[in-house]
Symmetry: C2
Subunit: 114 residues, 2 copies
DNA sequence: CAAGAATGAAACGGCTCCGTAACAATATCG
DNA sequence: CGATATTGTTACGGAGCCGTTTCATTCTTG
């Protein structure tokens, strides 16, 4: 399986996915929020505020607020780390998995039809 | 050339591009702005506020404001339609082409290495 | 223990974007 | 022509995110 994607097709793909996200009524996740969400779901736990902030080159409050927003949408949850009570462990949810699954299907389907 | 992209790889791709956009200091384009920009560059002219609003299922002021913002960044320009002075024709710029070229390269390169 | 470091959250002012409702300019049509 | 429709913009109040600073809690370590 060789996923060659020409530069032209890359833009078509981006356009298609953007259109789908803009058209449905749900408020779009910002690029930052989406990237945080993907980090949580693609990389091995544990995930902490500080770790995510370092990985994205962003301040900690940015992470905290993004987690607040996505938590309200049911895409992630937080739990205190029992081994170090200063830490907050960010956890996946069914809602978040579903959300990314839909995104992945959209991207994959479009890329295959290009 | 068969651009098969598995759902897993689709998310990796999205994550990679998101990371690149978040990490550099430049303020991210919103999903709406990006989609408008891509519409302008990928679809045949002429492009009008009304047409874009209809295509994205979005109100006209959303388009106007996005054009204001992206105009300030040098990604698009506006010109009055001489055949119907009510219309505004949205036009591409060198800056916009360059911006999307960089995005396309990023996406394409990452997809090929997956 | 006490003092300092580390972690995540809250507070603050600022900026951008939103949705809706007006609005000015232009075109169309009876 | 005059009335109506169309196009894009502006105005307004509200909501969300930003960057920085400050804070409460917890851990580490001398």
């Amino acid at each position: 399986m060789a996923p060659h994607l020409s530069t032209a097709n890359a833009l078509y793909l981006w356009h298609h996915v953007g259109l789908a996200q803009v058209r449905d009524e749900e408020p779009d996740l910002s690029v930052r929020q989406m990237t945080i969400l993907l980090s949580i779901y693609l990389e091995p736990p544990p995930h902490t505020v500080r770790g995510l902030a370092a990985k994205l080159h962003v301040s900690k409050p940015v992470i905290t607020r993004a987690l607040d927003a996505m938590g309200k949408l049911g895409l992630v949850t937080r739990r205190r780390d029992q081994d170090d009570l200063r830490n907050v462990l960010i956890q996946r949810t069914v809602g978040g998995s579903l959300y990314l699954e839909r995104l992945a299907d959209l991207v994959s389907a479009k890329s295959n039809e290009l």
